[in-house]
Amino acid sequence: MSRALALKSIGTEHTIFQRRATRAVENLIATLDPTSLQEAASAPTDIGVLFLALQQPGVLGSVLEQDPLAEAKLRGQIRRKELLETEGGVIGPEELGGLLGITRQSVDKRRKAGTLLALEIGTRFVYPVWQVEGNKTLDHLEQVLAALKDHDAWRKLSFFVHGNIRLGGLSPLQALRAGEYEDVLRAARTLGEHGAA
């Protein structure tokens, strides 16, 4: 696709998105009562306004009629936010590079090679800070990430920070810190496979 065609395509997508998003917001305004509108409008961020509005009972019923999975998807977004905040949260590539003593380009290279875990948020990548201990990456992080290569980044993040039945309830992160690398690797290999819990 030529650059001109690509730009035109992006422009069209923006227009469609803006039109549909605007229509969705107009529907929200028409559905919400004044109290609910006031509550949603008090959210600290613009995106928070939408989240709060979508969780109002009157809206939810209407949304569910159009998409039965809407409520689950909304909960999923909230879980993603919680995941990002776990174990110290996330940082940008420059900050991560600073901790590891490498350039941003090297961070990008490691991300692409799958040796660092990165989450794509909009147009940027963020990195869970727990990947760094001292001035190096967590011991055996690369091997565990390699075992998880068939999973998406969110699934990998969930794996590392949640307690795991195959690790006696420890999270893989805790187990790695305790030096239980082999057990973590085994848990990683069986992730998402039907096996006895």
Binding site: R155, N164, G192, H194, G195, A197
Partner: protein, 160 residues
């Protein structure tokens, strides 16, 4: 009849240790549910990786994990993590459900019935991977399928 890949292979007969005990036998007709990776795996997979809880430590046989209940299969597949309350849509798309029918009832040793493990005794537990077993824990079932003959077969109606 669908040709079944990953057959258990040349299975040993149930361990002789069972002759000393009176295990509780459960007979199930199925169907059984199994969730599998669409890209890499067959719906029927007798694993010998030792990565799973009831894999045969002696590599005596492959183990198929399945559940008589769809809910059980779901939990066994997606809920390895404690407190995980969400599953992504791509993850679900990548994992079809196979409904497995057998061409005759299967007999299992029930380790979860009251006294089921006691009847086998501690020695046999170590050899349980060589015997047909069915385990029920916390209301879910884990099936180790070993057919009456050595080759075994299942009919696969496809995914649901």
């Amino acid at each position: 009849m669908t040709d079944v890949r990953n057959k258990p292979g040349d299975l040993p007969l149930p361990t002789q240790a069972l002759n000393r005990h009176k295990p509780i036998i459960a007979e199930l007709t199925g169907p059984f549910f199994r969730i599998y990776r669409a890209v890499q795996k067959s719906p029927i997979f007798f694993g010998k990786t030792l990565d799973y809880r009831f894999d045969s430590v002696a590599w005596a046989c492959g183990v198929l994990y399945a559940s008589p209940q769809l809910e059980g299969a779901f939990v066994e597949t997606f809920m390895q993590e404690l407190g995980r309350t969400s599953v992504s849509i791509p993850e679900l798309r990548d994992r079809p459900v196979a409904k497995i029918y057998t061409n005759r009832p299967l007999r299992f040793i029930d380790l979860c019935a009251k006294g089921g493990q006691m009847r086998l005794g501690p020695d046999s537990m170590g050899e349980s991977a060589q015997a047909p077993t069915l385990l029920r824990r916390r209301g879910r079932m884990h099936c180790e399928y070993i057919p009456h003959n050595r080759t075994g077969s299942c009919s696969l109606p496809g995914t649901i």
